[in-house]
Subunit: 242 residues, 2 copies
Amino acid sequence: MDPAAPLKKFFATIDRDVIPHLSLDCVVFGFDGEALEVLLLRWRNLDRWSLPGGFVRWDESLDAAAQRVLRERTSLTQNLEQFHAFGALDRGGSEVRPAFAAMGVEVPEGHWLAGRIVSIGYLALVRFAEVRLNLGNVVEECRWWDVRARPPMTLDHDAIITRALDTLRIRARSFQLGGALMPEKFTMPELQRLYEAVLGHALDRRNFRKKVLELGIVEQLPEFRTGQRHRAANLYRARPED
Amino acid sequence: MDPAAPLKKFFATIDRDVIPHLSLDCVVFGFDGEALEVLLLRWRNLDRWSLPGGFVRWDESLDAAAQRVLRERTSLTQNLEQFHAFGALDRGGSEVRPAFAAMGVEVPEGHWLAGRIVSIGYLALVRFAEVRLNLGNVVEECRWWDVRARPPMTLDHDAIITRALDTLRIRARSFQLGGALMPEKFTMPELQRLYEAVLGHALDRRNFRKKVLELGIVEQLPEFRTGQRHRAANLYRARPED
DNA sequence: CGCTGGTTGCGTACTACATACACAACTAGC
DNA sequence: GCTAGTTGTGTATGTAGTACGCAACCAGCG
């Protein structure tokens, strides 16, 4: 079967299904216990990487479209946060048409996909372990990348990630990451490593604990993490949002 | 001459000139010394008010389009800040076509102007006195409104203003309004009234002065405001941005 | 010209929060 | 039982935010 068939089918109905000249890109952050990671994918026959993105259907809001894109790629059902609209003059244009061509679909010269595209940036904090990656048919690779060592990216996706990181760091400074990025049960030092990975610098153990507890963003469990050849750490879980 | 002629001319070339299904709305804030005001306009034959807005031309970025809209309406040349993209399902649609009809332009049923429109919200802080209002041909009224007493608005423009106000209040809490909203020379109590109008509550005179001075957002002038039947207040000006 | 009302400019005490650091408790391995 | 390594808890210090008192000053009036 023609590997480009699904893409061709998508392209055949694109003018009927989605808002033209508009796209959205999701910056999906996860945490593997060591570093902050971002979910990137590589389209067939392309060597640059891209953010998971998509278009907005006529029968769904921007927010709903972002949720759908996230769900299609990760099987997750959760809210995303819109953080910026990217509308520079050179967005799209020269780079999109060759990309589609590499995947086996010829975009006519006059088509909007060959022209300028405005993109809305969305941000998601997800539980690493709960993600079930779904490549689909035209994605060759999809994996997590350490945010500090990202591969070459298409279009302005690198700038989009940088902007999302800025937004994230502002939230981290006021301890507003919550436990969205953590596994269900975690220790205090593990949560601290997340904040340190986002902020990019070390924090004081004792002050961090004090702050997190007084803000009530975690709930103490009557369990401990053993087998670490040192004192067992208490386990916590993210407190359900009010 | 047909009063709808300019609008008809605009409509005739709209498909060639601008990105379809996309618009932008500018929330322009000014300060009259008493209350925080927002610039609104009323299109011909409509009874609801609207934000100054427009569409994005193919040869300009989102930011540049926002600057153009602001310049066309106020003759001001300055930056705006993008704060949110509004893309609910019911944006546009039923309300836009009757509005154009009231102004004398029949939008065909299938045209994108009769359908859903995503809008990018921009925010501007301008000097009240420097604004030179320009109505154009299809705007019947254009004036400042106290943000606390706004008229009935079209579409979701009321929610857009609310969101812009939230953004503004966040900035005010960390004294980041600067002097953009003040006249060239102003006293400390006058600046304080601006912050109070934005925040919606009173501030302490002495702490306000201390904070503003230590942040260095104003420059003291060797002049005083006299004729107030009480002690003359020192004049300041906004310090040029670094 | 002195007195008065009202406001501005300046300083000080108090409180809350963030930061810096010390020590005991505990687990696994030998 | 001893040790290495880390976690849990407490306390001291510094810095920023808040509350408030008082003198300086301008215009108007008797």
